[in-house]
């Protein structure tokens, strides 16, 4: 089943066109890595898909439900707030700089949305939260506050927070870019474990070897378009396009 479908996405900021015409499909259980130089539009693509940015044109579909359609004038038309609210529950996003809520304890960061928004009972939410913290090896940090944790631990809490809402699709926006190099491993491991559980994920990353290992499908973006895409062995090990080759030559492979 198609979990996410983006058709002919276009996005400009003022006169600057950041995304020219992008279409992509994410199937259930698929892990898609998006790579490319900074300023290529990767983050904007993710922000449009998660509705943090409004798209100018194109369509956005989660599990067959339209969040955005093309109107008669060719412009993007968003679904009603009620429908968007429902569709929003299909996905979650892990930010580059965590964006944990500093005044909430670790467990409250994970469970608050369940309790306040999904009206789950406190016990039920706690059970889910504790389970996720165990999975993230953070059981002993349940009552800590974000400032008491390392960057890697904070990022794991934010992954638990995103997973708590049981999203169908989980987006990652450069999840290791704000971390010290020695801490990136623990996050990449968590994502690998999720991939092994067939979690559907879309990951914007600069970690090439990680993208090659974990992704089923790699998209190389540059200048607001998809330059090359395909299985990681093809795109990362044996790129056909000149721009992809130039970009990847900067990384050790």
């Amino acid at each position: 089943m198609k979990y996410l479908e983006i058709r002919n996405l276009r996005k400009s900021f003022g006169n600057l066109t950041v995304i020219k015409d992008i279409s992509l499909t994410v199937e259930e259980g698929q892990v898609v890595a998006i790579i490319g130089p900074s300023g290529s539009g990767k983050s904007t693509l993710l922000r449009c898909a998660t509705m943090l940015e409004t798209m100018d044109a194109g369509e956005l579909i989660y599990l067959g439900e339209y969040a955005v359609r093309t109107g008669p004038d060719g412009k993007a038309v968003y679904a009603s707030p009620k429908d968007l609210k429902r569709i929003q529950r299909y996905y979650s996003l892990v930010f580059q700089d965590f964006n944990l809520f500093p005044h909430f304890s670790v467990i409250k960061n994970v469970t608050d949305a369940l309790i306040t928004i999904q009206k789950m009972s406190k016990e039920e939410a706690l059970a889910i939260g504790r389970d996720l913290l165990r999975k993230m090896s953070l059981s002993d940090k349940e009552n800590a506050y974000p400032y008491q944790l390392s960057g890697g631990q904070q990022q794991r809490v934010s992954i638990a927070r995103a997973l708590a809402l049981s999203p169908k699709v989980l987006f990652f926006d450069e999840p290791t870019s704000a971390l010290d190099p020695e801490l990136t491993g623990e996050i990449l491991k968590v994502i690998r474990d999720l991939a092994a559980e067939r979690m559907t994920m879309v990951i914007v990353t600069h970690e090439m070897s990680f993208a090659r290992d974990v992704a089923d499908h790699v998209i190389f973006m540059d200048g607001g378009v998809i330059v090359e895409e395909g299985p990681p062995e093809a795109v990362i090990n044996n790129p056909q396009n000149e721009r992809t080759q130039a970009f990847l030559s900067r990384f050790e492979r």
Binding site: T50, M51, L52, K85, Q88, R89, S92, L93, F95, D97, N99, L100, F101, P102, H103, D112, A113, T116, I117, Q118, Y145, P146, Y147, S158, R161, A162, L165
Partner: protein, 216 residues
């Protein structure tokens, strides 16, 4: 005059000062939040009306505002108001003046919260109201406590301005006794009262700040 009589009269005045202080905070703290929202509104007209209001409140002396609010209804509209309006006028002037100052503190606090907090809340499905109340406001309160403490302490001392329209708060009392007795002692005593008042308020605010130090 006996010391005890003087102290009793000052204490009565102090009661009025405390009353002005409490009522002003009670109304201006929440009103300030509404003003801050108006100041940050997307509506051009509302935003600019609020801007002008804040500018006037901050740009003219509180003593003058007090006199305009007290004498205005009669001199401008010819409305005769009862004696009790004296005290009401003090509260009205103080509240609209302090709300303007608090609004700017709130605005600074709200604008200092990183955008990522709003985005995280949005992705998790919090409504705008839930985001503000549960996520943003607690962080704002922590950040604005020091400047709010400053304003609150200034307010204690500003209550003495009520003497210009002869509301018998502590300073008015001290002045009356001092001129009757030809003595500076009532002023010194009033000073000590103000100091103690401030000391208590500062201690309460410090306790509150400490209570908010569980997160960073």
């Amino acid at each position: 005059m006996e010391w005890s009589v003087m102290l009793r009269e000052l204490a009565e005045g102090m009661l009025t000062s405390v009353e002005i202080f409490t009522l002003t905070l009670l109304f201006s703290l929440p009103l300030g939040l509404l003003v801050a929202f108006g100041r940050m509104s997307k509506n051009f007209l509302l935003r600019n009306i609020i801007k002008i209001y804040i500018s006037i409140m901050r740009g003219t002396p509180l003593m003058l505002q007090l006199m305009v609010v007290y004498f205005g209804p009669y001199y401008i509209f010819g409305i005769r108001l009862p004696q009790s309006y004296r005290f009401t006028a003090v509260i009205i002037s103080f509240v609209i003046n302090y709300a303007a100052y608090f609004a700017e503190i709130y605005r600074a606090g709200i604008e200092s919260i990183p955008l990522g907090q709003y985005e995280a809340a949005k992705v998790l499905g919090y409504s705008n109201a839930q985001t503000f109340v549960r996520i943003i406001l607690p962080q704002v309160i922590k950040r604005i406590l020091p400047p709010v403490t400053n304003e609150v302490i200034t307010l204690i001392k500003d209550t003495s301005l009520a003497f210009v329209i002869a509301v018998s708060e502590m300073f008015t009392q001290a002045r009356a006794i001092a001129s009757a007795q030809r003595s500076v002692a009532p002023y010194v005593a009033a000073g000590i009262f103000y100091y103690i008042f401030n000391y208590v308020v500062a201690a309460v605010m410090e306790w509150f700040e400490k209570k908010m130090s569980y997160f960073r």
